[in-house]
Amino acid sequence: MKFLPLVWTSLWRKKARTIFTLLSILIAFLLFGLLQGVNAWLNAFGSGSNANRLYVASRVSEVQPLPSAYLSQIEGVPGIRHATYIAGIAGYYQEKHNNLVALATDVPAFLSLYPEWQVVPDQLAKMSRTRDGAIVAAPLMHAFGWKIGDRIPLRTSVMRQDGGADWQFQIVGTYDVPSIPAEANRILVNYAYFDEARLLERGTVWAFVVSVDDPARSAQICAAVDALFVNSAYETVTQDEKAYVQGQLRQLGDVSLMANAIVAAVLFTLLFLTGNTMMQSVRERTSELGILKTVGFSDRSVTALVLVESVLLCVLAASLGLAAAAAVFPVVAALGIGGSALPLKVVVAGLVMAVVLALASGLPPAWRARRLAIVDALAGR
């Protein structure tokens, strides 16, 4: 510890060089933090999901409809507590870019499956009485300036029996998802009303959502549900919520592969940069190191001094970079990519990476300092 001032002074021997190196490392770790942060967010996607919930979708594909009549058979599988169906109505409000998805479902059953979606009980009661009612996510109400009681027209591609494809719903309530605010982006409508009014694919749904008593048995329950419909025209695939969400996300493509490749390129480049800086600094200090050895520093402690200097520089810069990443991360998250805070895991991985980088780039100069013979060093050879 008592040598820390010595290391610190030699670090700042050439201010400009140290500052530039520091800034390069800082930028590299800013990038590391952001990319790995997004990566970790993607991998953890759906980990906030409820292990009690399973999704039953068509084996053919997510968009292939299933008969709503499956519900009673699914409910009969032992271990299943609640079950309901969902059908989606994709469309837009006024302008094409205002994309919206309305979920047609048995609203009370749906909300008992999603306890984290919070609706005022009075409004839920009103929803049951209003056939064309809608419960709208609070952020959407705010975004479009809607009020309870408004009738909202949605332009969709789902045809109505009367020939049109515009659907009108009356807003009777709102919901919030305090635990996962990003999830509050839907409109809930009554399936019974929707199914009766539509022209095509009546009696079908997109998927079923079920909750199980014991998540540990969910694998068996998934198999039991799929076994019910095997070899029928509508075979199913049942997954827990996390697997379902991850499957949807994987459709996005090789995002994590890309992020890892970029981080690898950045760190590789950085290795050369810091390695070069340390080598230069040791070379310039040849005679100083010779003096240190003359006054009694052992080879080992000179090596340690160089390595500590390298670690100090890298860890200091990496901490600043990761702090910057943590500060910027919520801004990126506001664009819809990434979570609200940089995961601690990423910060720890970044610091470990910084130490590895420091040792790798500090080793050649440290070796040189160790091998330095006093006579040569003092002669400046």
Binding site: S61, T156, L252, F272, L273
Partner: protein, 394 residues
Amino acid sequence: MSVFKQIASVTVMNLKSIPQRAGASSVIVIGIAGVVGVLVSILAMVGGLSQMTTRAERADRAIVVSTGASFETLSNITREAAQIIEDAPGIKHGTDGKPLASAETLAIVRLPLKRTGSTGNVALRGVGGAALAVRPEIHLVEGRLFGAAVREVIVGRTLQRQFRDLELGKHLSVRGSEWTIVGIFESHGDPHEAEMITGAQTLQSAFQRNTFQSVAVLLDSPDSFAQFKSALTGNPALTVDAMREADYLRQQSQAFSTLLSVVAYLIGGIMAIGAVFGALNAMYSAISTRTVEIATLRVLGFGASAVIVSVFAEALLLAMLGGAGGGCIAWLMFNGHAVSTNGGGLTQLSVPLAVDLDLIGVGVLWACLIGMVGAAFPAIRAARAPLAAALRGI
């Protein structure tokens, strides 16, 4: 000695001494190669996507989907509506007098991917009788065309490369029924080549559907589009949108292209700032090792401009080397390499990365900018150093 001669001789001398400073110089080259490599690789995805979508587009082809459907999978067109669309004015007619229009049904099926074995979504397209006349770029390379009212499909070459067990003669099990692969087709690597095609009637009966998702038509001429579109929008029995094929395809890939470009320039920009610091470092150290040399030149009568230009020349040369190197690495590693991504409307699309000379040019341009910024301050410092002190090597 003229200024130009001075500049030339100092620059040549400087460049010749680069090998002596190999360590510091390589920092510039490798740092910039990293930036350019990443930038070019990501932009290559954007390029690949747009190449893929524009490859087969024709000005005289139009796509009709139902109003409000941003993707074909969300669209629904009834049999009656499809009939009205096929009879609309502006559509070219074949030698048999029938309109060159193909009402198409799209189903999405899950198939196992070659690379991971996990399932990916594949579009199974049921086409009308005139489909091959509407899309003449689709041509069989193996086997034969699917028959009428039998469960046979032809598979695109791109799709075959991406998914398992799609060889000629193999069987697919979809919704409990067997489909036979009777042909392999190519269509210049456009998005249709990542699909399976069968007859619309066959698909509709297999999936118990009676609607179409889109109608593709060939127009009399590119100018007939306005007439065709107004006939459809003016018809109160229809709720459909007609789009030129190019507009339709662009709309499909635009969101993803924009996102990728933003990511490319954002990450490239951040990395470039880092590389500028690296270049500054290297150039400062380059001039500091040359302090005595530069001062001697100045004393001999060489002007400040000669010194400044020589520093810039060194930085630019190294930067261009790095830029070209990074571009070439991206080309060697990724050109033609396909990344899979969401093809819009739930299907998996495999996009080949396209690294071309233009892109490498963009990379080298970035490299030069980084080199210039990195050289500016050191060059000024070199030219301004007080001679007496510099000569003594202080």
